[in-house]
Amino acid sequence: MATNQEEVQLLGVVGSPFVCRVQIALKLKGVEYKFLEENLANKSDLLLKYNPVHKKVPVFVHNEKPIAESLVIVEYIDQTWNNNPILPSDPYQRALARFWSKFIDDKVVGAASKSVFTVDEKEREKNVQETLEGLQFLENEIKEKKFFGGEEIGLADIAGSFVAFWIPIVQEIAGLQLFTSEKFPNLYKWSQEFINHPVVKEVLPPREPLFTFFKARYETLTASK
């Protein structure tokens, strides 16, 4: 049980949806940690040492032992600190939580990003369709539930922070109507519950700077057409 702040570190950047997942998990568990901000254009020796395979953030370090990949980290945190469980105890429910988390990562995150940050019109359209299909599956799954995890947020909700917070930002920048309350009423309701959840609210990065950052990236990309 880590009580010393030195023992728990998180290498990350403000604004990364993947880093945010880990921060939500840590906040839920009440774990204190040191946040080591990376400059992705000039990665630290520490990052390269701790994640030589992918050289990416987030990297979670516990007692000097590093773990990479956001959902792997979240499961580790859940197993190490037992309060406020993120995964259910029933194996079948766990399998479902993992399924939907993987679905979000494989089918929604990439497609949604490429719906915005792609210059080729055909490629962009293909990704828009894929995103809409993905969101529809999530809409069908959430139904009337408060969270994917039930009454409290779980693994799939944490994975879905990208959908709840990041998609609305990037779609606004590109003038796209991907994730709307009209198209996906249940999922939209979920997203509002999620971003207003007391723990999540404290962890989400400020919207304005993030918007500015993505807008700049979008304008650079589209100017190069």
Partner: protein
């Protein structure tokens, strides 16, 4: 117990093989149902409406989709024998990390090799060998990725083995360059769970040729 566990599968699939191995490791009796992927059964479409893919593990009427999720499920439910994941949370995290790495890097490179020609193809082949070399580094002096015991990382890697053999045969992929990998694979193939789950190499080779032909006429 036998009718409680059903596996919807396709013998040549490396993903189906992962679940077969896990079930065999635990000594679980189950009903095996071969799917015709060109004519998917109503049961498959009902049990995996999201992806419509195999493998699907059905336990007490409830479906578990995605091969590594099914393997973890099997490990958690039949937890009294042959653990597939380590009990230590850090070791578990490492196992999950490497299984994720295998999922990300091997299949994509297989696809790249199939879809490309000339320089691009050679580059993809080189990348795949680099992946194997990194896995060899991770294996180190251990008998298995899991240490003394065959486990969660060994399963997906060995399930790709027949496809590595096919690439060796048809695309001159120099798997032999990776002697540690080859030795590890031989060790895995001696395990009963792997030997009875692995599809016939001739079937894989035939399928490989057919898939290659179809993709080149597109």
């Amino acid at each position: 117990m036998a009718d409680e566990v059903v596996l919807l599968d396709f013998r040549p699939s490396p993903f189906g093989m992962r679940v077969r191995i896990a079930l065999a490791e635990k000594g679980i009796k189950y009903e095996y149902r071969e799917e015709d992927l060109k004519n998917k059964s109503p049961l498959l479409l009902q049990m995996n409406p999201v992806h419509k893919k195999i493998p699907v593990l059905i336990h007490e009427g409830k479906p578990i989709c995605e091969s590594l999720i099914a393997v973890q499920y099997i490990d958690e439910v039949w937890n009294d024998t042959n653990p597939l994941l380590p009990s230590d949370p850090y070791q578990r995290a490492q196992a999950r990390f490497w299984a994720d790495y295998v999922d990300k890097k091997i299949y994509d490179n297989f696809s790249k090799i199939s879809a490309s020609k000339g320089e691009e193809k050679e580059a993809a082949k080189k990348e795949l060998i680099q992946v194997l070399k990194l896995l060899e580094e991770e294996l180190g002096d251990k008998s298995y990725f899991g240490g003394h015991n065959f486990g969660f990382v060994d399963i997906p890697v060995v399930s790709y083995y027949p496809w590595f053999k096919a690439l060796e045969t048809f695309d001159s992929l120099n798997v032999g360059e990776c002697s540690k990998f080859t030795a590890w694979a031989k060790r895995c193939l001696q395990k009963e769970s792997v030997a009875k789950s692995i599809p016939d190499q001739r079937v894989i080779n035939e399928l490989f040729v057919e898939l290659r032909k179809n993709s080149s006429t597109e």
